[in-house]
Amino acid sequence: MHTLHLPATRTTPEVHFEPAAGHCSITGVSIPEHAQEFYQPIIQWLDIFLSVNRGPLTLRIALTYFNSSSLKALYILLGRVREAQVMGTPVRIIWVVEEDDEFMLESSSYFAELLGVKMDIEMSGDEGSGERRAV
């Protein structure tokens, strides 16, 4: 499988999926006009990856902001990861939250609870980088 790399734009995050290492990252801001169009190819790529791969998968989400249509697309994407986890793929989800960002902290905890997945919350920023929590 080829590496999936989408550079960041002013409304979409950088997406980098490295199949050999099992590392996926989504980084930046996600406020596209059409979130479904943006995320659909990423979800399709992930579906193919999960269908042929049984090794560990690490998904790192470091978003500074997302709109509600991105939220639904991310929910679908994380649902796929959750399904793979249930089927036995070792999965680690890291959600990076800036210090003092209640919006993103609530969003990550909400997703973890709703999907029933274990998620590592990594705090970053000026005042306390490096702290980690599991939710």
Partner: protein
């Protein structure tokens, strides 16, 4: 420091992809320098983005009017656009529904909509107004006024208390 009542931004004109990007950049810059904590900033930027997304998605023609203004301890975010009858009625229905909901009912409606994998035919997730209500409460109003040529002027307004 802002005056007790002041306009942070007022825009009237076309709302296309480039304008949307420029407005969101500008909103973030204004929020960073005017709106206190990061929690406030993200929350209020979020409200603005959802309203802009709705206006762009459902605008049938003409220009939009968008403003952020401070009224005493509160921030008022308002957007106005032209829409066809079906979208205008849909806006009124959604806002009336949200106004009648408790915070628990809003949370449940949001959860159900999030778990529905379908997107609308115009690309919306059906979450925008519910997300606003979750984040800042249900002080959301919508006003619809008929205009010539069978279109409707839709004005949505969100009022929220600033924490700092």
């Amino acid at each position: 420091m802002n005056a007790p009542n002041s306009n942070l931004i007022r825009y009237e004109g076309l709302l296309n992809s480039e304008v949307r990007v420029q407005l969101t950049d500008l909103l973030m810059a204004i929020a960073l320098t005017n709106l206190g904590s990061r929690g406030d900033l993200k929350k209020l930027f979020g409200v603005a983005v959802e309203l802009l997304d709705n206006a762009q998605r459902y605008c049938s023609a003409g220009s939009v009017s968008f403003q952020w203004r401070i009224q005493g301890p509160e921030l008022v975010i308002e957007i106005s656009n032209l829409a066809d009858k079906a979208d205008a009625e849909r806006l009124l229905s959604i806002v009336a529904s949200i106004q009648s909901m408790s915070s628990e009912q809003i949370a449940e409606a949001f959860k159900q909509q999030l778990q529905d994998p379908a997107f609308g035919e115009k690309g919306g997730a059906g979450l925008g107004m519910l997300q606003i209500a979750r984040k800042v409460g249900n002080r959301i109003t919508a006003n619809v006024r008929p205009e010539p040529d069978g279109v409707y002027r839709c004005t949505s307004q969100v009022t929220t208390l600033l924490r700092s």
